[in-house]
Symmetry: C2
Amino acid sequence: MHIFKKLIPVEEAQRILISYAREVKECEEVDIDNALGRVVAEDIYAGIDIPSFDRATRDGYAVIAEDTYAASERTPIKLQLRGYIKTGSYPKNILTHGEAFRIDTGASLPRGANAIVPIEYTSEENGYVIIFRRVSPWANIQWAGADIARGEIIVQRGTIITPRHIGALAGIGYPRIKVRRKPKVAVFSIGDELISVDSKLTPGKIYDINIHTLTSLIRKSGGEPVVLGIAKDSTESILKKLKEGLEVADIIISSGGSSVGQSDFIRAAVEELGAEILFHGVMSKPGKPVLGSRIGDKLYIGLPGNPASAILSFILYVKPVISKMLGIKPTHRTPGGLVLKRREYGVKGRRLYKTIAIKRRNSDYVYESLPASSESISTLSKADAYFIIPEDTEFIDSGIAVNLSFFDAQPQLAGIFIVGEYSPSILRSIISIIGDKYLVRYIRRDYEATLLAVEEEVADIAIFTKEVKNSIRLTRKIALAGDASRGDIVTAMRNIEGERIIVVGSHQSAILRYLNGLAEAVIAPKELLDLYGVEEYRIIGQEPLYIYASRDLSEIIRNVLKNLSNL
Amino acid sequence: MHIFKKLIPVEEAQRILISYAREVKECEEVDIDNALGRVVAEDIYAGIDIPSFDRATRDGYAVIAEDTYAASERTPIKLQLRGYIKTGSYPKNILTHGEAFRIDTGASLPRGANAIVPIEYTSEENGYVIIFRRVSPWANIQWAGADIARGEIIVQRGTIITPRHIGALAGIGYPRIKVRRKPKVAVFSIGDELISVDSKLTPGKIYDINIHTLTSLIRKSGGEPVVLGIAKDSTESILKKLKEGLEVADIIISSGGSSVGQSDFIRAAVEELGAEILFHGVMSKPGKPVLGSRIGDKLYIGLPGNPASAILSFILYVKPVISKMLGIKPTHRTPGGLVLKRREYGVKGRRLYKTIAIKRRNSDYVYESLPASSESISTLSKADAYFIIPEDTEFIDSGIAVNLSFFDAQPQLAGIFIVGEYSPSILRSIISIIGDKYLVRYIRRDYEATLLAVEEEVADIAIFTKEVKNSIRLTRKIALAGDASRGDIVTAMRNIEGERIIVVGSHQSAILRYLNGLAEAVIAPKELLDLYGVEEYRIIGQEPLYIYASRDLSEIIRNVLKNLSNL
């Protein structure tokens, strides 16, 4: 009289069900404000730069830094006040030596200026500003694209949308997104003893609990419940519910009916429908009497009737199936703490909240700090957690464990960190190859920081502009756009010099200045000019890029890069 | 030119805001199926027992245990088959010596039977059942009320509804619940540079990110967002938004406007409304320029404009305010693991999922195992997490750390464990006094297990029927209902004996048998007869109850119990 002929291990039951679960192909478009908890069905790249202009990060005065070199408390200097640039405006005036503009945090740097003097070190007087401290070139400026560069990945398909993703999408002007249709999960309960919660309880009967718990669990897992109610202990009644479910839903689950007699009814019903029984009985307690079956190309999963077993079995067997149907990239339990890999400094008199991106490495976690500047929007799209450096702490040393606060209860951590120089073509190629399998985080870093990330085995893939060990060399073309004979040439490449060449802090800043008429010509990597739709340019040289990949990825990356040799 | 005259610590800012936040008093009634994530506004007690009849926990035969004492593989015994009790029926037949009923798991025990012989140890033959193994009295029976007793607390006010709560509410036949109305949170952004996400980006402008992140964060925190859009950098524009917000919302938040000039506009606007500035500037990075103010009896919180700062400041300052307005009892970060306090045994060939209730004790966590029987519905309402004992493990020893899997990402852990004998009057009195402050878990346990829970400092309050050290003694009255001269008397009290007295496993079973006409009289504690609405009874004695309370609670408990001396 044993109905469970062969119990199978929990993992095998999970593997079988997941292998038969079909991904929902249909998508729907939703406003980002209605996207919380939905699963993105497209890779979304930034179509603009953030910031999309060179931005003041302090209230103060826009100046030419060199004009302030002589300034000190004792020997202040005087600059003529040319106007006030408020946030939201885009000045076309040109600032020349001896001049300054009053400027607000967040406002656009005027042409000619290359630094902001913070307001604390100034005073105003009769159309002049008195400056009490020198500033270096590029001080208090956030360059265009410094936070998010055009062409960067913002949200990868398979991501569960959180408030931070919604923010990043708003930031790049992406008001509607494609999400996966919710899989329809039909659910019913089996048992003559069951009555609906709004009926009067009579002796021998019990309220149907599972229909309510399973409905809410389906919802929490990202599915759309289709509630079919209670089936009697009979083949006909169960058959009827199954047929109803097959008609309207992507997958069917039931609870109950696991006693000897009831079990026969279920088997008779699924056999009538020509089902294939995948397994019946799992080596777990509670949760033994789980039935996995396939009716046509739809799964039917029978869960135990005991309420606690039904919940647990749902978590073990149904939730992963719904995740697979939605194409959700893995979520993770929140790790409690993290050991610092380098010394982290606090800020005097203030509590510092350091945001970090976290990656799972085997059974462990590694992290990469994100830019500390509070202007950063990357925090929205890239950070998983933060830790605190208290007010009275000068630094926390490497090797010390800090407590993490996660932004999401079940974070989707990255599988791959790409660190270093920005190349949208390389980034996009890599994601097109490994993006199905991994959640990828790209973190821009200078040469030294990228080298450190490789040494610390935090970076899986790193992109350098100088040669490093074990890297693959690519070249990318450098091009000149615009009329170089007519006025200023703008670029971010430090090894180019010339009287009329203005060097700025980012390729994005250079290209945008040219496009917005603040310079007559621009020098930048060809791949970036292409990205901005600059059509006319002339190749004037090339620069090397060195790509490092960790051992597991080097084969894949070699293949990706073969097709890219001609950037 | 410093606008932040005095930065205050993060905790002080939080404390100030919470102290001024007003709890939302209004409630609304929702179907339990729509209650996921809502905050319960009432203490909900079980109005029925679960199970509400004596229930078979195995497929098999209902018998009088004493009839099977001679049975073995070699010397099977024969009982006459009287019928088949299926789930959902409520048999009134009386089983006498030499007889048996076939019975399904979950079906109601017939009158006269006191044990179930599992089907594996039987065979059927010509109207008889052959039994190959003896069973003890009460074997394979779950007594009425053994899982949840009438009068037990199911969901306390201030609880955030999870699928498990929905299940427990369905279990006790509670289809609609009172939840707190969602606080209306008006939100707007400040800045001339901001444009709406569906507009075309022009130089100098940026998309308004915060309105979208804050809207979704308000929703995730249990509030109802009222989106007011973008205010210009002017006193009039900000004033207009504030007035709009005051009219429709319970609290107002904004982001942006933290540069010097903008800040003046905000101050001018709130001063025009006669606001009280509670603080302006917090010692944190990012998140310094936070403004806390009170306009009339409503809070207005100004957050920084930088998107990452806005999110962090929301989490630090607005979320706790919304929680306070909703009366939410504290949630906790999920602890990663737990050290076993006693040896836990596995189940051969199956993976055991042990469910536990967890309580925060200072900075640490303690736990109490919940009944292992998979029939348990308590798991729904009382368990916070489970851990696994693998298939091949005989036991995990005390002192070993196990990994926990939580049912909820942000569990609301109990503050108080009440362990031991069931007394609905005591439970209700305690909750009425300390239920505002603490989430209380009551876990029924026998004398030995309760003693252990006190020794291990897991129980804060313990209820015994035998004397223990440092306890307060109460007495509760024992009563007889029904006509004791006319037939069977049923009771759960083991020290009462008599020819026609049938001892069952729970007071609930005894009372329900009497009420359902399966016995002519019942002996039970008076407080329980009162709970079931039994009106006519005669006090026939009393039993002592010994209440232990941990040192912190002993004062409170003494006060509670003073009023209860006459149970």
